[in-house]
């Protein structure tokens, strides 16, 4: 990976777009805008991470939220029960998610297509059932954070801003990581697997190892942001940590923006979450917001199945350099 690849204007357009979005609440200092953009940036991290597995490698994971939930649990356990600070707890949450992906990858990445997708749903449900009966993590009651915990970070108001800055940095880091992976030899191997796994193996790609590392890479950051989300939320319970619905929303974001691209998942996350946020708070649509969101998604998927970025890249080849 040469540094010259990092000079690609498309990468920096994506980074600057997300940075500008992230700076908006900081400039305006409006807490409600911060909360809206926090949800968007969280989705950018989750969707971009999923894209490494789904978009580059072609493996559809319906249960990717398991890493978000497990990371959240490990992090909150360390903060609440062991008295750790947020920083090492974030690292531990990411490591736990990565470790789970490493172990699972050995087993389920041998499956292909719908078998793999079904297995990921099973893993999410199995993990939820396990945590529900795992007493150190509070079993079905979950774990709750004392409000005084935020005092170590300058009070709740400062803590919320701190968490926001971290998520913004992670979102930017994830976009660069996605680009680096895509343009590396490792990334080309993943895309070869996506196109034809047997052919990739014949061409010298060590597929089990590549797939496992893609899975691990796509799991670490969801684990880290899981810690941040539940630290901010103040409590964690199995149903909210392992919500299958959220996994499906992530798939929609990736498909909406354009899977296999760097800019697509970020755009999909921003578009999807802003749309949902606007509909939820609009006087006109708030009572029928789910129906309107569903209809819009249906129209987009019917008419631009390759996602927004995929459609633009195909329609305007000249822009491909700017939309990696």
């Amino acid at each position: 990976m040469s540094l010259t690849k990092l000079r690609n204007p498309g990468l920096w357009i994506t980074v600057i777009a997300v940075l500008l979005l992230g700076l908006w609440p900081i400039v305006t200092q409006r807490a409600s805008t911060r909360e809206e953009i926090f949800t968007v940036l969280l989705s950018v991290v989750l969707a971009s991470s999923l894209n490494i597995l789904l978009g580059y490698t072609g493996y559809v994971s319906f249960g990717h939220i398991v890493f978000f939930g497990l990371g959240g649990y490990v992090g909150l356990y360390l903060i609440i029960v062991q008295g750790w600070s947020l920083w090492p707890a974030m690292a531990a949450g990411g490591l736990a998610a990565g470790l789970l992906a490493l172990l699972l990858g050995q087993a389920i990445l041998r499956l292909r297509g719908s078998y793999f997708a079904l297995a990921t749903i099973g893993i999410n449900e199995a993990m939820r059932a396990f945590i529900n009966n795992f007493e150190p993590f509070g079993g079905p009651t979950g774990l709750s954070l004392n409000f005084q915990t935020y005092n170590a970070y300058g009070g709740a108001a400062n803590a919320l801003w701190l968490i926001y800055y971290i998520v913004l940095i992670l979102a930017l880091f994830n976009i660069v990581l996605s680009y680096v992976v895509k343009t590396s030899k490792f990334g080309l191997g993943l895309m070869a697997i996506r196109e034809d796994e047997d052919a990739a193996e014949v061409m010298g790609v060590i597929t089990p190892r590549s797939k496992t590392w893609a899975y691990v890479l796509s799991a670490i950051l969801p684990g880290v942001v899981g810690v941040l989300f539940f630290f901010k939320n103040g409590n964690i319970e199995p149903p909210q940590a392992f919500r299958l619905h959220m996994s499906i929303e992530l798939l929609v974001m990736v498909m909406l923006g354009g899977f296999g691209t760097v800019f697509g998942p970020a755009l999909g996350a921003v578009g999807y979450q802003r749309l949902r946020g606007l509909l939820l708070t609009s006087d006109l649509f708030k009572n029928i917001q789910l129906a309107v969101a569903g209809l819009l998604l249906l129209l987009i998927i019917l008419f631009i199945p390759a996602g927004a970025v995929g459609w633009i890249r195909r329609r305007f080849p000249i822009l491909r350099r700017y939309l990696p």
Partner: protein, 420 residues
């Protein structure tokens, strides 16, 4: 000429005085904004809708009565701002932040359920807004160091303990109890506290088992109950599983002398189980049958505030055309408590209202209200108690009766189930 000039001056003066007084009155009116999220979609939709109906009924009644007059003469009326939380926590903090900062809500009401309330309470505390919680029974929300969050419901730790008091009053020889509960946060909190209380009273807990949410086959648990031969079975979870559990107990002819289940029995549709519902006891935050009014307050030695049970029941029936559930009563009382605190404080200042809520000790149609003021559990409800209902009568014409506590009883408890 002089005379007509005098008349004109007099008229002008009158108009001026009238204008000034009208503008003075206008300046003394203030609209207080109450913010909350409602589960308009998702799994809490039914309970949340009833909760909001109750709150809206209170709001309309106060506004129709001309609002509340503060000590400085300002007349306060109320309006609401709300958003759909979709029954999940993803956007609860985002929406409550918006309510607190963009919509300038003066006071907040919690969403329905403990999980959503946990997420929203942080925002209330962070932005210094008083939050009255309703539909949120979990104890843990109030042990996190909050100072502005106040609970209306009896906490989960006391949901089923009264059922054991009832059992003790019915049969001193009953010793063996089985606890079978749904494996979710609320039911586990209730059952763990019940287990502790049972041991404290000297009962032997012969079975303590959890089943997964959404369970439809209770045969393994019923077999264990058969083997353990308890005098009483307590537990359950929510409506669907509780109803199925009661039905399967009946179908397998396993009828312990006493059965008390969470949530399902107080619901009117529970009677559709017919004979399987007969004798089943259930805890309820409030029942229309309970005659709680000023005379009950006098007997208890506290002040009574707000409408009587009967008045609330009739007003709700008229407004919404259905029987009010305890969720609706909880929504109404959350507004009522705010009204009382504002009246007593004579202002809408957060600190003054917090002090009034801290000092509150009264009886409403919903029951006794008093909040814990210790730093360890500030805002936890310590005054309110559960009522216990039981389905009685014939299988095709069941009646719901209050069988505990003694001051609210409407019929003697049927014991043992299936006995003479």
């Amino acid at each position: 000429m002089n005379r007509s000039r005098q008349l004109v001056v007099l008229l002008l003066l009158t108009v001026l005085v009238l204008g000034l007084s009208v503008s003075a009155v206008a300046a003394q009116e203030q609209t207080v904004v109450i913010g909350f999220t409602a589960s308009q979609t998702g799994k809490y939709n039914v309970e949340s809708t009833r909760q909001i109906n109750g709150l809206n009924l209170w709001l309309n009644q106060v506004n129709d009565a001309g609002g509340i007059t503060l000590s400085d003469g300002t007349v306060v009326t109320f309006s609401t701002v709300f958003y759909d939380d979709e029954s999940n926590t993803d956007r609860v903090q985002e929406l409550y932040t918006r309510l607190a900062t963009e919509d300038n809500a003066d006071f907040l009401i919690s969403p329905y359920s403990s999980g959503l309330t946990d997420a929203s309470a942080i925002i209330a505390e962070q932005y210094g807004k008083i939050m009255i919680t309703t539909g949120a029974a979990s104890d843990s929300t109030y042990t996190k160091g909050y100072s502005l969050v106040f609970q209306t419901y009896t906490p989960a730790s006391r949901y089923l303990t009264g059922a054991l008091d009832l059992l003790a009053s019915l049969d001193e020889s009953a010793q063996r109890i089985a606890i079978v509960h749904e494996n979710d946060k609320f039911s586990t909190d209730v059952s763990t506290a019940l287990n502790d209380y049972a041991l404290e009273l000297g009962y032997e807990v012969v079975l303590f088992e959890g089943y997964d949410s959404g369970a439809t086959d209770f045969a393994p648990f019923i077999n264990k109950i058969q083997e353990a031969a308890p005098d009483a079975v307590l537990g359950g979870g929510h409506f669907q599983d509780g109803s199925t559990f009661a039905r399967q107990l009946f179908e397998k002819t396993v009828t312990p002398a006493f059965v008390a289940l969470l949530v399902a029995p107080p619901e009117p549709s529970f009677s559709e189980l017919g004979e399987a519902a007969l004798g089943i006891v259930g805890p309820s935050q409030w029942e229309p049958l309970a005659q709680i009014d000023a005379s009950a307050a006098e007997a208890a030695g506290v002040d009574f505030y707000g409408p009587s049970s009967a008045d609330f029941h009739d007003a709700y029936m008229e407004a919404f055309g259905e029987e009010p559930s305890y969720h609706a009563a909880g929504g109404y009382v959350s507004g009522l408590l705010l009204q009382k605190a504002i009246e007593d404080a004579g202002s809408i200042d957060t600190q003054a209202i917090k002090e009034q809520l801290d000092a509150m000790n009264l009886l409403t149609f919903f029951g006794r209200i008093q909040f814990d003021t210790t730093p360890e559990a500030h805002g936890l409800q310590i005054g309110h108690s559960m009522m216990y209902v039981q389905w009685q009568g014939m299988a095709d014409a069941l009646d719901k009766q209050i069988v505990w506590p003694p001051e609210a009883v409407t019929a003697d408890a049927l014991y043992p189930i299936g006995g003479e």
